[in-house]
């Protein structure tokens, strides 16, 4: 897994997020993310939301309004006003694969 926590990766995420916003897709949504009320401004898809929060989208499942989505195509998951979103992180421990 390359680039975890590297500034370069974060910067590129922020950049792509800002680019999308400039393209006029931005919406303002009131959401509940990880149990906290937040006001989010950006494109109304899960990937944009995760990226705006600096989340590493590769190792999480998301749960929207009680439903766990076992999928990684976050750009195709729409988000809407009032959505309650939990980010469920995969945490495996020491090694990726046993020998």
């Amino acid at each position: 897994m390359a680039g975890i926590g590297l500034d370069a990766e974060k910067d590129s995420k922020v950049l792509s997020f800002e680019t999308k916003c400039r393209e006029g897709e931005a919406q303002t949504l009131s959401l509940v993310v990880q149990g906290k009320k937040v006001t989010y401004r950006g494109p109304a898809d899960m990937r944009s939301l995760l990226e705006s929060r600096g989340e590493n989208t590769l190792y999480a499942n998301v749960r929207i309004n009680g439903e766990v989505l076992n999928r990684r195509d976050f750009e195709n998951i729409p988000i809407a006003e009032g959505d309650e979103i939990d980010i469920l992180y995969f945490m495996g421990g020491g090694i990726v694969q046993p020998d």
Partner: protein, 255 residues
């Protein structure tokens, strides 16, 4: 009265004085049979507290040796243990803490071939594994054998805890249906882990085991607790059994 010796009554006095535990609870601990998978970051605090608490019979399965990079968080092992088998090192520490506890040591990796006979010997399982294939193997086998299991995971500054009543409450696959593809989730070796986070999560796992054994309180069933050390916050996510779960759903594909 209770089937406890004078030494046990003294050793466990601070448990016994708790009305919710009492002599009856301590006796349940003495009768308990718990399997801890892994004697690493999570397994260390789990094994330390279960041993100290007088958890009757503790099984410990581990196939690795103590490496210098382990010592920052795997508090069961000490510097002179470098290069030793972790199972041996763990057993030695545990015996020093409490010689009254019976310890079964398995110097092997948990596999589909040894898991079922092993599970038969224990009532509660604690997950302190270091990889996804073993984590899913353990989940599936515990659901099939209807074992209670305390799941834990750690990465960087985060931790996750979930208690599962196999076949009754939401299982790991109800939340994380399939293992992530190799390489998509970094390991602690790659992404790092704040040592004390392992202590927090492992100690919570031990707390859940002690609760399960004594019947105190409400287990973390159908709930997943995420710990964020950076914010020092806990976030609880409700987990429901997934009817489409491949192992505990209506039409399981893993049997």
């Amino acid at each position: 009265m209770f089937n406890l010796t004078e030494e046990e009554i003294q050793r466990y006095a601070r448990h016994i004085i708790l009305p919710e535990v009492g002599g009856a609870g301590q006796e349940k601990l003495k009768q308990a049979r718990v399997l801890v998978v892994g004697a690493g970051g999570l397994g260390s605090p789990v094994l330390l507290y279960l041993t100290a608490a007088g958890g009757g019979k503790i099984g410990l399965i581990e196939d690795d040796v103590v490496d210098i990079t382990n010592l920052q968080r795997q508090v069961l092992h000490f510097t002179p243990d470098l290069g030793r088998h972790k199972a041996e090192s763990a057993e030695e520490t545990m015996k020093k803490i409490n010689p009254l506890v019976e310890i079964d040591v398995y110097k092997e990796r948990l596999t589909k071939d040894n898991i079922f006979p092993l599970l038969e010997k224990y009532d509660i399982v604690v997950d302190g594994v270091d990889n996804f294939p073993t984590r899913y193997l353990l989940n599936d086998a515990c659901v099939m054998k209807r074992k209670r299991r305390v799941e834990g995971g750690i990465l960087r500054f985060m931790g996750l805890i979930m208690t599962i009543d196999g076949g009754s409450s939401a299982c790991y696959r109800c939340v994380f249906e399939e293992p992530p593809p190799p390489g998509t989730v970094p390991s602690c070796a790659e992404a790092g882990i704040l040592g004390a986070v392992a202590g927090v999560v492992g100690t919570l796992q031990a707390t859940e085991v002690l609760k399960l054994i004594t019947g105190v309180g409400k287990p973390l069933y159908n709930r997943m607790l995420q710990f964020d050390a950076e914010e020092l916050s806990f976030h609880e996510v409700k987990a429901q059994r997934n009817p489409k779960c491949p192992v505990c759903g209506e039409n399981p594909t893993i049997t």
